[in-house]
């Protein structure tokens, strides 16, 4: 993921139409991002299983490859060669499209994520709004999965997912406002560029609200109500098997990657770190995996909330806190 400006200059010097070059670069980059996504998900699922095992006094995957590193490849191969069941009563197209709709927005949302000073696919002016808006389409896929599969557990799960999205979208966006006010830009690279001191120190309330609502948006414990195993068998993906289930898995983990990468960009100083510039993406990844580890730690430790408590937390605690954060930030900046 190189900066495309130098290539564009090269193209204009040689009389190539810019859109051709643009498209071909975009093509290459999308494939690179996709490969990285796939790799990231494989690493994350392996990490999740190992972290869980570590917290539960056991080993985790051990026997497929060295320390089980090939475990996820085996799982993927199996899921790919597994039968895809379309229940008789399911809505044909809604059922088929839902996993794709969960997976695609999460993937496209990664387009603006800057992992180094020049390592960004497309640096939009409204990058922040883009990052908030595009992955949120995924919830439509979840609702479609619930309604399409004509299954009661799935419908209940998707309704819960919608309720959660409705409650946590607002505090999540409001918690970012303080950062935008200080940075004076909604461009992600600009936000990182101005972060000489990490914003987590200037915006502690904002960070906490953002982290909690990100957990809720990505359906992780203690907010994993849409797919609780003890109540709704597997929630919205109860009826899905084989490859389509793989897409749900991908979507879920890419959303986690995107959420924690955004937290790093906004609050943890992005790629900033000691050492030469080529270490920037390394620092970014280290911070990102720290946030992911935190999410996993929370997941394997806490019990889950009940649905009314989830809503209460969103509207009565996080939303006022986020508004308060905006006011405090503004007041300090004005005075």
């Amino acid at each position: 993921m190189l900066s495309s400006s130098s290539l564009l200059q090269f193209a204009s010097h040689n009389g190539m139409p810019i859109w051709v070059l643009n498209t071909s670069i975009a093509l290459i980059m999308s494939l690179v991002v996709f490969a990285l996504c796939g790799l990231g998900v494989l690493i994350l699922v392996y990490m999740e299983r190992k972290v869980a095992a570590d917290m539960q006094l056991r080993w985790g995957p051990m026997h497929v490859g060295w320390h089980g590193v090939l475990q996820l490849i085996a799982d993927s191969v199996k899921l790919l060669s597994k039968e895809d069941i379309f229940p008789r009563n399911a809505d044909r197209w809604i059922f088929r499209l839902a996993p794709v709709l969960v997976f695609l927005p999460a993937f496209i949302g990664l387009m603006v994520m800057p992992i180094g000073p020049h390592l960004v696919v497309q640096d939009l002016n409204v990058g922040l709004l883009y990052v908030l808006a595009v992955p949120a389409i995924g919830v439509a896929g979840v609702i479609m999965a619930g309604f399409g599969s004509y299954n009661k557990y799935a419908i209940l799960g998707s309704l819960r997912s919608a309720a959660q999205m409705v409650s946590y979208e607002v505090p999540r966006a409001l918690s970012i406002l303080g950062v935008v006010m200080i940075a004076g830009s909604a461009k992600l690279t600009a936000i990182v560029g101005t972060q000489h001191a990490w914003y987590i120190f200037l915006q502690p309330i904002g960070f906490v609200v953002f982290l909690v609502s990100t957990l809720a948006e990505t359906n992780r414990v203690p907010f994993d109500l849409p797919e609780t195993e003890s109540e709704l068998v597997n929630g919205y993906h109860t009826e899905y098997s084989g490859t389509r289930f793989l897409f749900f898995l991908f979507g879920e983990y890419i959303a986690l990657i995107a959420g924690s990468a955004l937290a790093v960009v906004l609050f943890l100083g992005g790629w900033h770190g000691p050492g030469p510039e080529f270490l920037a993406p390394v620092w970014f990844l280290i911070k990102m995996f720290a946030i992911i580890y935190l999410a996993m730690w929370i997941r394997w430790t806490l019990p889950r909330f009940r649905i009314d408590q989830v809503m209460d937390l969103g509207w009565k605690v996080l939303l006022p806190l986020a508004l308060l954060n905006v006011l405090i930030t503004g007041l300090i900046m004005v005075l």
Binding site: R49, G60, P61, F245
Partner: protein, 166 residues
Amino acid sequence: MGIVKEQMLDNGIMLTKAGDLINWGRKNSLWWMGFGLACCAIDTIMMVNSARFDADRFGILLRNTPRQSDLMLVAGTVTHKMAPMIKQLYEQMPDPKYVIALGSCAINGGPFYYDSYNVVKGVDKVIPVDVYVPGCPPRPEAVMHGIEKLKEKIMARGQIELLKSK
């Protein structure tokens, strides 16, 4: 399976390689359906998933819906009232699917073979069974051994399945 199968048949090596890869995936990622019927469920299913025996080492995960599971462990006594449900759950698993009958009750009714009007004399009267693990209840080590045997069976059977399937 149409086109790929023909090409694979033309090229024996490719068939072996592709079939081996798929079988390798299948045998190393047996997700089982968490489904306890009676005593065996406590000691085997829960125990094998607990820290001491840890089925996760072999890539075995617990799924709750039959749609995402490959392996059904019938752990416990199958009663006549329960048998239709077991059949339904088995049917609802996606192909290829495997069944392990755990414990004497699931194998042939066990101690309830005589004198019990409500017990099915073995789950293989209802659904096909791949591996039988005896014991009342079997030790967790025995369950693991049964799973190893199932893996051998998958590796042996899968080749034929790949050739045969239309």
